[in-house]
Amino acid sequence: MPRALFGFLVGGALGFGLVVALRAISGLEIFQTEQTGYPHLIVPGITGPLGFLVGIGCFTYWFRWAGGAPTIPDDHSQHGASSWKDYFRFNTDHKVIGIQYICTTFFFFIVGGLAAMAVRAELAQPGTQIVDPSFFNGLFSTHAAIMIFLFIIPVFAGIANYVLPLMIGAPDMAFPRLNALSFWMLPMAGVLFLASYFVPGGAFDAGWTGYAPLSTGAPLGQSFFNLGVQFAGASSIATALNFLVTIITMRAPGMTFWRMPLLVWANLSTSLLVVAATPFIAGVQFMVLFDRALNTNFFQAATGGDVLSYQHIFWFYSHPAVYIMMLPGFGIISEVLSTHARKPIFGYRLMALALIGIVVLSYTVWAHHMFVSGMFSWLRVPMMITTLLIAVPTGIKIFSWLATLFDSVLHLKSTSMLFALGFIVTFVVGGISGVMLGMVPLDIHMSDTYFIVAHIHFVLFGGSVFTIFAGLYHWFPKMTGRMYDERLGRMHFWLTLVGMLGTFVPMHWIGLQGMPRRVADYSAQFGDWNLVISIFSFVLGAAQLIFIYNVVVSWRWGPKAGDNPWRAKTIEWLVTSPPPVFNFDEIPRVVGGPYEFGVPGARHAIMAGDEGHEARPPEPAVAGTASGSSP
């Protein structure tokens, strides 16, 4: 860590020195401090994080190799983590990286949540009381950017990082060093986002969408957003490539595509979206940065730039991003529901195909964010049709989950199951408002109002965040080897549900009645509802403290969890909790589907040691001794 910080300073100083030297040689004014300029701060914004990555050791192996020096053979001595300090080091163990991801993203969840609390405090009463409008714009912009780029997207990468290699019977990810590099780029994105609060002009305040030309002319903070997105985006892309290669090439023998758990399918689909879509936001933020710093002219209206192009390129990423933030959650819900309902997933193949259907369709719907933007008007109807059609595969998933619960043996004692069931209700509400917004005549009235705010929070909070909690409670015993406190978990769930409904349900109403989004002040007629919303939002915020407390205390002092406390079938539950440093002493062999609950004698995978005891699914009267440890 000290070396990394030193690297950060050296990198930043080199960048700063380079700019100063070049400008001095060229006879330019050394510090260019016009509103969007500041090259002596932007360049260190790139070189500082790179210095950090070098300092922490992300490139050590590659540099030695590229330079022809003898590489240090990896003796795996730094695999695993024996104390909390090990989590602050460069580590190529996918389980350590998974924990690093989850803890880092929850740190940003708290930061983004505090920004939301500040927004709600300001909005509790009409008028401006607590923050001035400029700072308010910075608050909701950083809230959204942090929650999207530094919490929801990477926390799913973290959960999958931990669980997915175990689930497919792999010893690690395909590219462990790339995996570590992907993780360490993330805190750098966070540093850049948060640093924007301390630069002249304050935090970036053009919304997380950063629409040009507001963003091209905004103060310096916007450049830090442009740069932060590069690091978060590069991290996403590298992780997605890693997942694709891992899933395609490293599955245990016998795991055909149709035997993959749905979480694996979900991350395969998500990764397909990330690798193709994320370069678009990286590109468009560079274009904005170039407009700002280099006087290029992509989007600046005053000099003939094309304003609407920004929105097209931005949403060509950011609509698929909605599914990048939802598909991994779909995977988690499938795992949790089938395990706690003791039933195979209903229509497994259609569930997998629905994911692929969403991937394909999600590339064809972006302009539904632009129905009132003044874009080419003919484009609206085709985009409306594809937008409405994407409700079909999503509906298939909801109906299949419900059918999975039918004729089940439903266990409600686990908090993960509560979040999964709560997710179904809240996500359906978000889906319904999404279909309404997809209809052009309704969207003309609803867009850019609080109805949108309600919709995105129903899908991102009632959708993504509920699935994140379901997943964390589900795999907490596997990750830590300890059980969490179910009583606190239930309290967390119910307060979160009530807080969430109380916060976001009334937003539909005030939006339709005429309250626009992204305003620091509003007409007095919405005062009462906003007060109600603010009170519930504080309940929602406070409820998360229960989760943090529960996790911290249980991780340290919780009762020991067995290898398989939920009696699940997938491979990660066949190893100890927490799993051995190299996952598997022997490679498991996959012999059946992942959710064969209630099928006598059926198993998903067997360890080599069990060879010969392999049960044949359709034989009902298999000898009791043959089924080994499987219930």
Partner: protein, 254 residues
């Protein structure tokens, strides 16, 4: 699981749909209807509310029933029935929603065509937005104002110009919204910067900027007054001496 249970569950879904629809249709969701287009849009919303109540009821009744009927007894370690799927059912819940959303899409398209239909007589108005101020020009009347005064029951042809960043024109009672896109002078462009709306209710409203445009975004509003034709003519007549300067007390006589 017998036939009677399915019938009762279906009955419960319908009952819940009806009850929820009735309750959900009571509030005036979109508020006062102030334009000829509003009624069409609100009807579409009402239809969507009923459809949504049905979808929500199906999900909630099924979920509630499963939790009620299949909840594990304490200590029950058995598994559920190994049902892997049902092709007919899966085809049904792929095809039926497809039909419903395509119907919704077609109906929305019809509504969209209706609300954008051009009338024979239009009143052209030039709307100009800048941080954080609205300006309205009436080329036929040769009037400029910082309040939007319009006659009732006349279709307005609104032409939009933004001088600095994106803004958006929204009068909630009219249900119409459109972004104002800044375009460099003389730059050929595809931006669709014109829309039509027919206010049909006399009264005073607010024009709200709905596209984030900077620190003054939440204050960027303008007064909108819909007059009878006579009052509008009187207002225009009153403006002429003050032409070129934004009149200040113009809203008084509405």
């Amino acid at each position: 699981m017998n036939r009677g249970t399915y019938v009762r569950l279906f009955g419960l879904m319908i009952l819940l749909t009806v009850v929820m629809s009735v309750i959900m249709l009571i509030p005036d969701w979109n508020g006062i209807q102030g334009s000829a287009e509003a009624d069409n849009i609100d009807t579409l919303l009402d239809i969507m509310i009923v459809v949504s109540c049905f979808v929500f009821s199906v999900v909630v009744v099924m979920l509630g029933y499963c939790i009620h009927a299949f909840r594990a007894k304490p200590g029950d370690e058995s598994d559920g029935k190994p049902i892997h799927g049902n092709t007919k059912l899966e085809i049904a819940w792929t095809v039926i929603p497809t039909i419903i959303v395509l119907f919704g899409g077609a109906y929305s398209w019809i509504v969209l065509d209706d609300i954008e239909a051009e009338a024979a007589n239009q009143l052209p108005i030039e709307v100009t937005a800048q941080q954080f101020k609205w300006t309205f020009d009436y080329p036929e009347q040769d009037v400029t104002s910082d309040e939007l005064h319009v006659p009732v029951d006349v279709q307005l042809e609104v032409n939009l110009t933004a001088l600095d960043v994106l803004h958006s024109f929204w009068v909630p009672e009219w249900r119409i919204k459109r972004d104002l896109v800044p375009i460099a002078e003389g730059n050929p462009t595809d931006v669709d910067n014109q829309f039509v709306v027919t206010p049909n209710r006399v009264g005073t409203y607010s024009l709200i900027c709905t596209e984030l445009c900077g620190f003054g975004h939440s204050t960027m509003q303008a007064k909108v007054v819909v007059h009878t034709q006579e009052d509008f003519d009187a207002w225009v007549a009153e403006q002429e001496p003050a032409e070129g300067e934004p009149p200040v007390e113009a809203g008084g006589e509405s």
